[in-house]
């Protein structure tokens, strides 16, 4: 793949690719800074517009919006004490107190540098780890692939927020929604109930946008507007000087490491990484007493970790086709729509594309520095925008986006009903990420299970006994399922004692 780097760089130096990187990062920072939009909604909203683009620009646009939005979330976290994305929630603890002291520019400077370093290191990790992991998975047959998807989905459910049962239920609903339409083996229509529009199944993008973006609008319409803290005085980002880094570099390195490791694990996501990193920083920093009062170490812990997750989460996505979180699940769906199947074959058959994606991701993280500096002041007035205008705009853009997918009125209705379903399920505490991941991975899960069963003449026990890798993955899956139960039991015991 490294041999393809010159071609990949040539691909990235085209006007289309450069504009895409620039525009995507700007858009990501702005959308990420808007409270209520968040990375998943931002990526979902942009997704339909990528369908008319080439493979590389389309993926680069999504990556730019993803990385940009994770960084953009810190702007609102620091300036108005409201994280633009859940990943930046931990940034509020020290970012806003600094801003209240009149050091908003400095706080954003720390956040910018920590984000850039976290993102750049994660790009290198992606470049090194993804091909290795993909090579390991080269000899996977349907049985191993089935076991791997099962493990990936279980991890996502086990560690995602909320109850384990509801997470599993969401995943099952997602897998079912993916099974509507033609059977992948025989082609016979299933669950169409005479509606010919359903023969090709539910449009994934319509469901994703409904579930994430439209349901978010419904949720915001259902409650009183949140009280927003006063916008802190801000006159541009001030980068920290070299000497101010004294005693903070080890903390930064630790946060970057935490972000990368957590990013590679399916399902954990940037918000978890940011909180774990913040907690670790608070435990081990020489200035731990100052955490929560406007200590730059707190901002570094959170922002370096959440941006380091971005590359880490792409490792299983690009190498195995197993998304690390809801955002990478959406990206995986886009790859599929563009005719790209992630994995070793892709790296062998299309190394230029993969190298362009990885190198592009590195450039995006480099762009965060100048664009963050430039956009910090522009983004601040956007934070004052009323929720009403923002949410109405989201619905209009969702409609535009879904119309561009296939120009099919049925998809718009699917988006509407998916929004209602998402709203109702989210109110009951059902997480949405497993639903989308179930919908993305469901078809492969079904196909590999049925292929495996046909190969083994219906004896599922042979999956574990004749395939040691699959057997090991099944054991890990069982442990992953048991993990939340054991954790809850231990917590109860500790509470009783």
């Amino acid at each position: 793949m490294f041999a393809a780097l010159p071609d990949a760089i040539a691909l990235l130096l085209t006007n289309e690719a450069l504009l895409t990187l620039l525009f995507g990062t700007v858009l990501g920072i702005i959308l990420g800074a808007m409270p209520g939009i968040g990375s998943t909604v931002a990526v979902a909203m942009v997704l339909p517009f990528t369908l008319s683009m080439g493979q590389a620009p389309a993926i680069l646009l999504l990556l730019a919006v993803y990385a940009g939005s994770v960084y953009g979330g810190s702007i609102s976290a620091i300036l108005i004490n409201t994280p633009g994305t859940p990943q930046s929630a931990a940034t509020c603890f020290d970012g806003y107190p600094m801003a209240q002291r009149g050091e908003a520019g400095k706080a954003l400077g720390w956040a910018t540098i920590a984000s850039v370093i976290g993102g750049l290191v994660s790009a290198v990790v992606l470049l090194i780890a993804a091909p290795q992991l993909a090579a390991f998975a080269l000899n996977f047959g349907p049985v191993e692939t089935f076991a791997l998807i099962l493990l990936g989905m279980t991890c996502i459910v086990s560690v995602s927020s909320g109850s384990l049962v509801k997470g599993l239920l969401a995943g099952v609903i997602g897998i079912f929604l993916a099974s509507v339409g033609g059977d992948p083996v025989t082609g016979q229509p299933r669950f169409t109930f005479g509606n010919w529009q359903l023969i090709s199944g539910f449009n994934l993008l319509a469901v994703v946008i409904g579930i994430f973006a439209l349901s978010e609008v419904f949720i915001r319409a259902s409650r009183k507007p949140e009280a927003v803290s006063e916008l802190a005085a801000f006159r541009g980002i001030v980068l920290p000087r070299w000497r101010e880094w004294a005693g903070r570099k080890a903390g930064l390195a630790k946060s970057v490491l935490i972000g990368n490791v957590i990013g590679v694990l399916p399902g954990t996501g940037a918000a978890t990484a940011a909180f774990i990193s913040y907690a670790e920083g608070k435990r081990s920093s020489p200035r731990k007493e100052a955490y929560g009062t406007g200590e730059p170490d707190g901002i570094i812990s959170s922002e370096a970790a959440n941006n380091a997750v971005t590359g880490g989460a792409l490792v299983p996505t690009m190498a195995l086709g197993i998304p690390g979180d809801a955002i990478t699940a959406v990206m995986l769906a886009t790859l599929t729509l563009h005719g790209i199947t992630p994995g070793f074959r892709l790296m062998e058959d299309n190394p230029t594309l993969i190298a362009a994606i990885f190198a592009g991701f590195f450039i995006i993280n480099l762009l965060l520095l100048p664009l963050g500096m430039a956009l910090g002041r522009v983004a601040a007035p956007i934070l004052r925008m009323r929720e009403a205008y923002m949410m109405t705009g989201v619905v209009l853009l969702c409609a535009v986006g879904i119309y561009f997918v296939r120009g099919n009125p049925f998809d718009l209705m699917v988006m509407g009903f998916a929004g209602v379903l998402g709203f109702l399920l989210r109110r009951q505490g059902v997480p949405m990420a497993p639903l989308v991941i179930g919908m993305v991975l469901g078809p492969t899960l079904e196909l590999t299970l049925r292929q495996g069963l046909i190969l083994k003449k219906g004896d599922i026990t042979l999956f574990a006994t004749e395939h040691p890798i699959a057997g090991t993955l099944f054991v890990i899956t069982a442990l992953a399922l048991a993990f939340p139960l054991v954790r809850a039991w231990l917590a109860r015991r500790a509470a009783d004692a």
């Binding site: 109850s163 049962v165 109405t392 119309y403």
Partner: protein
């Protein structure tokens, strides 16, 4: 309404009935000829059985715990908004993007608490107008137009 019939319980019951009905629908005659893994309903039956089992557990948990959900501020306005969004999704391709977006934007802004008629009118016309201008006339990726004019 009895205390045990909370919104959560009703939702779980709805999911349970839906899952059971879908599972029953797989036992139609058209799929009988094929057996085991080759049957188109083999996998959905496993999934729907899991659906029912998990919903039952979630239902029991919700009945036992009796946890509430966040109160809806104004139910009537929310229903109006959801219906408006669904009607809007249906009308975009029939009436065109502009004609359907203007009334939707008016309703949406009202639901979200904007009461200044000038602001509502300006936003409801300007934002869809800019989107139409951008896509139809600059990017040349036409949005659906109304039956009355090809311009919007």
């Amino acid at each position: 309404m009895p205390a045990y019939l909370s919104e959560r319980v009703l939702m779980q019951l709805t999911l349970l009935i839906a899952g059971a009905a879908l599972l029953v629908s797989t036992f139609g005659t058209e799929f009988q000829a094929l057996g085991a893994a080759q049957s188109p309903v083999f996998f959905p039956r496993i999934i729907l059985s899991l659906w029912i089992g998990l919903t039952l557990i979630a239902l029991i948990q919700d009945v036992v715990r009796r946890e509430g959900v966040a109160a809806i501020d104004k139910v009537g306005l929310l229903i109006v908004f959801v219906l408006a969004a669904l009607v809007y999704a249906n009308l975009v391709t029939r009436l065109g993007f502009m004609l359907s977006s203007v009334p939707f934007a008016v309703i949406s802004l009202w639901v979200f608490g904007v009461r200044n008629p000038l602001a509502i009118a300006a936003y409801a016309v300007a934002v869809p107008g800019v989107i139409v201008l951008l896509f139809n006339h600059i990017l040349k990726q036409p949005l659906p137009v109304s039956p009355f004019s090809h311009l919007f």
